[in-house]
């Protein structure tokens, strides 16, 4: 098993953070992981992306030239990575910000109105949690509880009500995919 995922969006959307949470959670589950943030001018220019590899074997290259999953938070991310996804792979799109239709017909596509859902939850910032929840529902190897543990480790958050919102975000994201949106 080797799953390569690119999380992509713009700075401030919490893209790098959910990639990191995913990697830490998988590590705690005993899996091999690598986390490779895009680096340099791109980061500073406003777009942000990272590549997370998860495997039960040693991971060779941390780069994903043809990822199994792409989680696209905005339009430029879709444009940039749609073509790279492995045939049969999966694309998760934040449909509130991406008005463009994906063109691939050999991949599975999920449109998640993450901002609308986050607003309903009462915190627009938990949009990334909703996307992460949706993604984990697809890859099926990390539970919400594991992700929550990973999140606590990463953000070192003590604020219980804040963490409750994050958990809800993960859950409604997961449910949205499981219900077959």
């Amino acid at each position: 098993m080797l799953i390569k995922t690119i999380f992509s969006g713009f700075g401030g959307q919490g893209v790098l953070m959910i990639g990191y949470v995913m990697a830490v959670s998988a590590m705690r589950e005993g899996m091999n992981v690598t986390y490779l943030p895009a680096y340099g001018a791109e980061v500073r220019g406003g777009t942000a992306n990272c590549t997370v590899s998860i495997s039960d074997e040693e991971i060779a290259s941390p780069v994903a030239s043809s990822p199994d999953y792409v989680v696209a938070f905005n339009k430029p991310s879709l444009v940039k990575y749609e073509g790279h996804i492995k045939p049969g792979g999966t694309l998760l799109v934040n449909s509130d910000l991406v008005d463009l239709e994906p063109v691939r017909d050999d991949i599975e596509i999920f449109r998640i109105p993450a901002i609308t859902m986050a607003k309903e939850l009462g915190n627009e910032k938990s949009m990334n949690m909703i996307m992460l929840g949706a993604y984990s529902a697809k890859i099926k190897i990390i539970s919400i509880d594991s992700l929550m543990n990973g999140l606590v480790e990463v953000v070192k958050a003590k604020n219980a009500s804040r963490m409750e919102i994050n958990r809800k975000g993960l859950e409604i994201g997961e449910q949205y995919v499981l219900k077959g949106a």
Binding site: Y20, V24, V33, L36, Y39, G40, A60
Partner: protein
């Protein structure tokens, strides 16, 4: 060993350095290794006796390293390719003065300002001394997060043991990638071997001089021979190489650092196709594991050197094999990180072209 942590390479080196007893760090920001400098600024502020200076230049940093090293304390600096070029003056002095120090080079694309993408273009500079004069530095080439931690500890030990500068040669990928790591426990500073040569004020003893100026030609020659003899001992004692699936291999990819990870992916792919290909990963680039290659050459007929450069380590492989075996090369310079598929393709092409399968 503590619990596993997910850290980026630059942070792993920094944390491992502090745990190895490094209390002095001097550096000048340069991408893609700024996270190392940043980490040290915080880490050294929180350990007793920790000193961090963001120096005015790479030159200043390496010379501050010289100053601390003269007093016998463990000290480190880090930079990326253009900055390492600036440090070469000081590295040459460290070698001439026989001072221990650890220098991290997170290689980027070059020459000149190049780019900030991962590259392996500084192999020659690192393994041939790099600065002026007839010397070598120990060059370690970690290929994973765990190796970054382990080799950083080793780097300080080797530097002290042989009184020589040690370079950790990584690249932007190794520096940025996060991987799980388990750190060794911090060493007890008091447990480090006593250094009999340090400058600390000539109290109750003769005054000492640490220098590399030796005007007398006979003495200069002897000093160089002394360094040479030291290099010989190091070549005997610390050469390190790792392998993957070479036991039955007819062909081997040779790669270090980031390239070796990618190569491993390629080996797995071509093995699925039934090709008898293995992987040789030199972990010390100087001393280069020459003897190992001679031995491997007894059963491997073809060596494909894969580097993120136009071909530098390939010369060491050729030298080690002394023309007895075919040495091929595949490289991508300028910060392009090839994929395992690409390497697998290169392997396959050579494998069939040279009819390696039919050798029996």
């Amino acid at each position: 060993m503590g619990e596993k942590k997910l850290l980026r390479g630059s942070h792993i080196i920094a944390e491992a350095a502090v745990r190895a007893g490094c209390r002095f760090y001097f550096g000048y920001p340069i991408t893609p290794q700024n996270e190392l400098t940043e980490y040290m600024s915080g880490a050294l502020a929180s350990v007793p006796g920790g000193v961090f200076i963001q120096s005015e230049s790479e030159l200043a940093a390496i010379n501050m390293v010289i100053g601390v090293s003269m007093t016998g304390k463990r000290v480190m600096t880090s930079s990326s390719s253009p900055g390492i070029s600036l440090k070469q003056e000081g590295i040459s002095y460290l070698a001439g003065q026989e001072l221990p120090a650890v220098i991290v080079n997170t290689m980027r694309g070059g020459p000149g300002l190049g780019n900030i993408a991962p590259s392996q273009g500084d192999y020659f500079q690192a393994t041939r001394g790099g600065g002026h004069g007839d010397y070598r530095t120990i060059v370690l080439a970690p290929g994973s997060g765990q190796e970054l931690a382990d080799f950083t500890r080793l780097a300080f030990d080797y530097a002290d043991k042989y009184r020589i500068p040690v370079m950790i040669l990584g690249d932007g990928m190794m520096g940025q990638m996060m991987e799980p790591v388990e750190f060794p426990d911090p060493i007890d500073l008091d447990s480090l071997p006593h250094k009999s040569w340090v400058l600390d004020g000539a109290k109750g003893r003769e005054s000492r001089i640490i220098k590399s100026l030796i005007l007398d030609t006979a003495a200069m020659e002897e000093h160089n021979w002394k360094l040479y003899r030291k290099h010989e001992i190091i070549e005997r004692e610390i050469t390190h190489v790792e392998t993957f699936m070479i036991e039955d291999a007819y062909m081997a990819i040779v790669a270090y650092g980031t390239a070796s990870r990618i190569a491993k992916g390629a080996v797995k792919k071509v093995r699925e196709m039934g090709l008898k290909v293995g992987l040789i990963m030199p972990k010390t680039l100087w001393p280069f594991p020459k003897k190992f290659f001679l031995e491997a050459g007894s059963f491997i007929t073809d060596f494909l050197v894969f580097e993120m450069s136009t071909g530098q380590m390939v010369e060491d492989v050729e030298l080690a094999l002394r023309g007895r075996r075919r040495v091929h090369f595949y490289g991508r310079p300028g910060g392009v990180v090839p994929t395992p598929e690409e390497i697998a393709k290169a392997v396959t092409t050579i494998y069939y072209r040279e009819q390696i399968d039919r050798r029996d």
